[in-house]
Symmetry: D2
Subunit: 202 residues, 4 copies
């Protein structure tokens, strides 16, 4: 039974590696600039996502906090209002998740900058966002490079159900962004440890 675990892990890892080369480099550079500019101008960054995309967003927010960013997760207790100049990072594979769209619209009304991280450049979320980073998920690949996905990488449906490939890719994409930010800001692991919760418990 354990071979299935290994097989799926290898498939997902290969997929993520492939994704790393497919993400548009200019869109990544602009994302980094939006983030560092928020830090420099002491603006807030709010992160939002539903379900597992929301968990991946939280993992990103935690690291941004370790780096000294003024970051919050929509839906948590002490998340303040968003205002002009603040940034909303909205994570949704389909770009159609109702609640994420509703938050992104509210952020737009408050004149905040909205960054969509999604698989679909033409999705409702992407359309109302100021900036879009396209991270391919299964459906995208299935449409565009059907043969490669299915035959070579073995991307049959059950291998990574629902949004798995998107969520895992975004998790690692965000960790790549953290690494790039560490270099840009000259922040080392020791600095991050100081901000790391010393009374954590979830």
């Amino acid at each position: 039974m354990s071979e299935d675990v290994v097989k799926a892990m290898v498939s997902i890892a290969s997929y993520v590696e492939k994704v790393s080369n497919e993400i548009d480099k200019e869109s990544v550079t602009r994302f980094l600039k939006i983030l560092t500019s928020a830090l420099a101008n002491k603006r807030k960054i709010l992160v939002v996502g539903a379900g597992r995309s929301g968990l991946v967003g939280k993992a990103f927010a935690m690291r941004l906090m370790h780096l000294g960013f003024n970051v919050y997760v929509v839906g948590e207790t002490i998340t303040p209002s968003i205002s002009e100049g603040d940034v909303l990072v909205a994570v949704s594979g389909s770009g159609s998740t109702q609640i994420v769209l509703s938050v992104a619209s509210a952020a737009k009304r408050a004149k905040a900058q909205v960054v969509a991280v999604t698989s679909f450049a033409e999705s409702p979320l992407a359309k109302i966002s100021d900036h879009v980073v396209v991270v391919p998920g299964r459906t995208k690949v299935a449409t565009e490079t059907d043969y490669f996905a299915r035959q070579v990488l073995g991307m049959y449906e059950p291998l990574a159900p629902l949004g798995t490939l998107f969520e895992d890719s975004v998790m690692i994409f965000f960790d790549g962004v953290i690494y790039a930010l560490m270099n840009i800001l000259g922040v080392g692991e020791e600095d991050m440890k100081k901000r790391h919760a010393n009374v954590e418990f979830v």
Copy 2:
């Protein structure tokens, strides 16, 4: 700047692929048996982890729910008591996180079965657990295969700070476990969609 993102993503993906072959296969098989046995015997599964390990545990719990498991996250509102025959899945890279140890001890007192997912087979968490799945994290690799990690894969410290490699590896390991469980249980993606939240909003 975007090259750093790509470089880190490729490094992490390579690392996860390597990890997939290093996890002890028998420990994975036994983990799968503990999970399917809990399902067959209508026992509860509780998942616990601090910080980003906790988020990865939640992502796993959500998929177990989609598969029909009776699963809960320690610390959430409607999580019931744990009793004899129930299973606690405790995620901690160091195996020394105080809060996770405290929950694991309480679960042992309640005669539940404790499964540790950790990088350290000799850690306090591993020692009090009934079953251990060792998922190597950076420190582990740095100790054991220093040259390979640092020179070949480029596992320099800042490339994936703090517990990043452990967390990303466990995220994808758990997704591999979900794939294996789908095969074992004969559950397809359509079945999972039916249980997927239709009123979700975090």
Copy 3:
């Protein structure tokens, strides 16, 4: 300074006592019947609310779990889909909170029964709900019985800002509902303790 604390506590407590006599008794009886009927028919109950109303909803959900109900909080990790025959308890003082409305609409589409707990019988939430329990909040009182509220009970605005009176009243209303359910179901405190988390940690 401490006299202000005492003064506000007495005002809020007096307000809650007044509210207890203003809630429509038939609407409460029907709410109890919807809950016990969900238990008898093994249906799920989902609870939703934003901000502090959401926290009050969680406190209610936790006690329902202690009583043996099959209850979930919208937005938490293992909350499953809602279906025909299930119950959504939606808490919103204004009855206009966008996210709560959006969840209530989704629940209606899934043919679940929606119960609104709100200060406004004519609010959008109340209008799409199958059943409404009106718990008066400050604004309501200010409109209807301005003199009494302001002169006798001292309900000046700053004494309980924003939705405080609604939230505190609903917290205690829900605890009253729990007491009534304990009597109806013949469940004692000892039974509840058995379900109370023994590994809790938020």
Copy 4:
């Protein structure tokens, strides 16, 4: 059935009113000074509690945020480390909740100031804390003023099971503290609305 709801609400409200006069005024004044001093010195305030006490702590933290405090909830995503001069507000009726004790100890090691809100002045939590606010809960009252509690107020066990009286009293105590802080700081409801989440959704 609805009379039970009314009866319990009246009992709880009467209890809270009684509590408001029993809380030691000097301990409240000192609590207010610790909070305003943290604000003046730009120190962080972290709030912690398990189960329903934790939810009440979150409701307090949300209002402190509305007032402009630099406040966090232990266990949420972006909660930073606690350091010398910071304040931990620890809520536990029994003063013996393992996880809360563990967090309070960690905060003491980091040289933060710990404030216990508990029913028991002699509890382990109270003993390691720098300051204690005693909010009587049922057990306390049952021990000290058995006749009054049981015969006059009708504080029979099932009327408010488990920690209900403590939790409801602390909820309203904290709201009294918020009112006092608004007066001390000269902050009005309009100022608070500006900080209130405009993209909230839990």
